[in-house]
Symmetry: C2
Subunit: 231 residues, 2 copies
């Protein structure tokens, strides 16, 4: 807090939050975007977001918007960074806190998404976006790549029950390269964090692949005692 200036003498600024919403669908990493409904740039592609209201934190604002657009609560959500260049928004001086969210693409409410004019784009087929939203997305992708290696984020993008080949596909989509089947499986199982179920998923092969669940509780415990998930 600066020397010799009181609160009331200060400039207030518009504060927004924009969500970079990742989903994983059919082997492809996707982003949820929608057509902006205010000027300037009405009708152009934009991240979903909102101004931060007086009686809510930035996180609460983001959760409010995510609920509105997808019908989901308890979404995985992390702060990316603040975008505060003076001229970033020609509409008005406005600071935006970027946040990235990971959602299970099989769980969201399709009707709500459509009603808001939102659409999923593959991350490598994104349109031009308004303001600095393309930059936010590229920052979020970098962050996702970095974090997915060290934290079990991936599971937030898959259904509760998933197969090892599905998980591998996801990581291949994030890292943009092929991984070795045997090493991937070995490494993952070595953590002892996957619970093997009795069911198989036969949607992608005749043989069928066993389903697993991620043991979130066990992970929490291990993490507290200094365990490091590294893929």
């Amino acid at each position: 807090m600066e020397v010799n200036r009181t609160y009331t003498e200060q400039h207030k600024i518009l504060v927004a939050t924009d969500c970079i919403v990742f989903g994983f669908d059919e082997g492809v990493l996707k982003l949820l975007v929608f057509k902006r409904r205010i000027n300037p740039f009405m009708g152009e592609w934009s991240l979903i977001g909102s101004f931060v209201d007086e009686e809510e934190s930035v996180t609460e604002a983001a959760r409010r918007v995510l609920l509105q657009f997808t019908g989901l609560e308890n979404i995985f959500l992390k702060e990316l960074k603040a975008y505060s260049d003076v001229d970033r928004d020609p509409g008005a001086r406005c600071i935006s806190i970027g946040q990235y969210a990971l959602i299970r693409i099989n769980e969201y409410d399709k009707e709500q998404v459509e009603r808001h004019g939102a659409k999923w784009f593959a991350v490598d087929e994104l349109p031009e976006m308004v303001l600095d939203h393309n930059k936010m997305i590229s920052d979020a992708l970098d962050r996702l790549k970095e974090k997915a290696r060290r934290k079990p984020l991936g599971f937030e993008l898959l259904p509760e029950k998933f197969t090892i080949p599905q998980l591998q596909n996801l990581y291949e989509a994030i890292y943009q390269r092929k991984l070795d089947d045997r090493n991937f499986r070995k490494k993952l199982l070595s953590f002892g964090l996957l619970i093997k179920l009795d069911e198989k998923d036969k949607t992608s092969s005749k043989k069928g692949a066993f389903l697993y669940r991620f043991d979130h509780d066990k992970y929490k415990n291990l993490e507290e005692s200094g365990f490091n998930f590294v893929l």
Copy 2:
């Protein structure tokens, strides 16, 4: 940007930035704090910071304050996160973007620091601070520990010319544990990023230790080609 609301209908919010300023002095990791000069909590210990003005970004605001307090430009500065709880500041609704800075404690302007009533505290002897500043500090320490392992941040806290034992002391102060001399030296030199000088520093031993410089240019190049600094 939210549906159906124009910019002018929105609430503006006070935006501040607070700097967690690290320095390394005589084997101890320290933080620069000062006595707050506005109410509420005038006279209590606070991080140095400022409100963000209309014509500056958050980063620019932080650099302005850092220059004011220490006389230094080109300080290493990274965003930590946004603190936006509605009730975090009883003075007014105010969002603060925390940022951490690393400075060379031998370079700052002592007079300026004193004139602003600022003071260095060892990180494990910090006083009670105003608002959520203790939380910001603990977040910044966690971030520093995490980042120092993967990025060559340490060099930002030492003079341009430093000895390997000094560097090791710094990492021991950050990680709060003793490291093995031989392994530490071997690992560091193996990167080929330290330039050995012909001078010795004799301030801490009779034999004297060779001085080194960090090769920032070479690091930039290596980093771009996917090199990972890991200590």
